[in-house]
């Protein structure tokens, strides 16, 4: 078990750093063992350093920076242990326009190996999707579905 944890820790750590750099356009992020070299028992800390800033405790990151760091860790976990599908429910809510763009580009690349169901209110995130479902609540509190296949719809008017 110890050996497998060590391998997975290093793989997730490498991917986490890579995704973080892609999302933030630079900077550094890594996982650290709370008891160094003790792969059998140690807990895991997260260290993040957005570009131009000093390495800081996660609590000091802004709302959007926290979302991006969390998604970078999630994507790293999906690389090491691919899940057949992944559901993301409004993970882009706190992101500014530039970061939404970087997020959806990276998602589109990762989607070549993992299937995503992406719930969003953001028109530009929808651009990354191959298909769109619209859900509405009819007047009596029941959800009904409209399939808006992307190829049939002018994306800008999609919603």
């Amino acid at each position: 078990v110890r050996e497998r944890f060590r391998e997975s820790f290093h793989a997730v750590n490498a991917d986490f750093g890579r995704y973080f750099k892609t999302f933030f356009g630079g900077g550094n992020a890594r996982l650290a063992l709370t008891e160094p070299e003790d792969y059998g028992e140690s807990g895991v800390d997260i260290l993040a350093q957005p570009p131009g800033k000093r390495q800081q405790h996660l609590q000091l990151l802004s709302g959007g920076e926290r979302s991006l760091a969390a998604v970078a860790l999630l994507f790293a976990l999906l690389e090491t242990n691919p899940a057949p599908f992944c559901v993301l429910d409004e993970v882009d809510a706190a992101l500014d326009e530039a970061n939404v763009g970087r997020f959806s580009e990276t998602l589109a690349t990762l989607a070549q190996q993992t299937q995503f169901v992406l719930i969003t209110h953001n028109r530009s995130t929808v651009q990354a999707a191959g298909a769109i479902y619209g859900i509405t609540m009819s007047g009596d509190g029941v959800s009904t579905v409209l399939s808006l296949r992307l190829d049939e719809h002018e994306p800008a008017g999609g919603q």
Binding site: A131, I132, S143
Partner: protein, 165 residues
């Protein structure tokens, strides 16, 4: 392996039988506030075996059954089914396509089915554990929970990495 189809019937706000077909790649789900998008994510978490009502934004497990409204009576049961494409043999079963269903009756009785044959919850969990799915908690990221991953304690983060091993 990927998710080919999702059918929801009587689960939360999906009173009528509702089906979604998915291709590989990214499928976006959009709609107004309160229309049922997060209920769809809850349906997926539920069919994969979620036992904790709070992870489904409910207090009791029966609260996932359609509670009725002005025109319709409360549903007698909730049912969610998924069809998974298994042509790559990801699930250790001899089928090209595997369907998994979960049903909960108002009486509290619950049923699990794999390819329409009744199984126990333990069978579903075992199946998914071997295929490294199911309780893989990070694969379904609930609304507003994005930075919950960051708030985990160091030993909880460790178990996320262990699951990935």
């Amino acid at each position: 392996m990927y998710l080919k189809r999702l059918e929801i019937h009587g689960f939360k706000s999906f009173a009528a039988r509702t089906a979604f077909d998915f291709g590989p790649g990214v499928t976006a789900v959009v709609g107004p506030n309160g229309s049922g998008k997060s209920n769809l994510a809850d349906a997926l978490r539920w069919v994969l075996g979620e036992q904790n009502p709070r992870a489904l934004r409910s207090r009791k497990s029966e609260e996932v059954i359609f509670a009725g409204d002005r025109k319709r009576p409360p549903a007698g049961f909730a049912e969610v089914s998924i069809a998974l494409d298994n042509s790559d043999g990801w699930l250790p079963l001899d089928f090209q396509e595997v369907s998994i269903s979960r049903r909960l009756h108002r009486s509290g009785e619950s049923e699990y089915l794999v390819n329409r044959a009744r199984v126990r919850l333990k069978d579903v969990s075992d199946l998914f554990a071997r295929a490294r799915v199911g309780q893989n908690s990070y694969a379904i990221m609930g609304q507003g929970l994005v930075d919950q991953v960051l708030n985990l304690k160091p030993e909880e983060r460790r178990s996320l990495i262990e699951e990935a091993a």
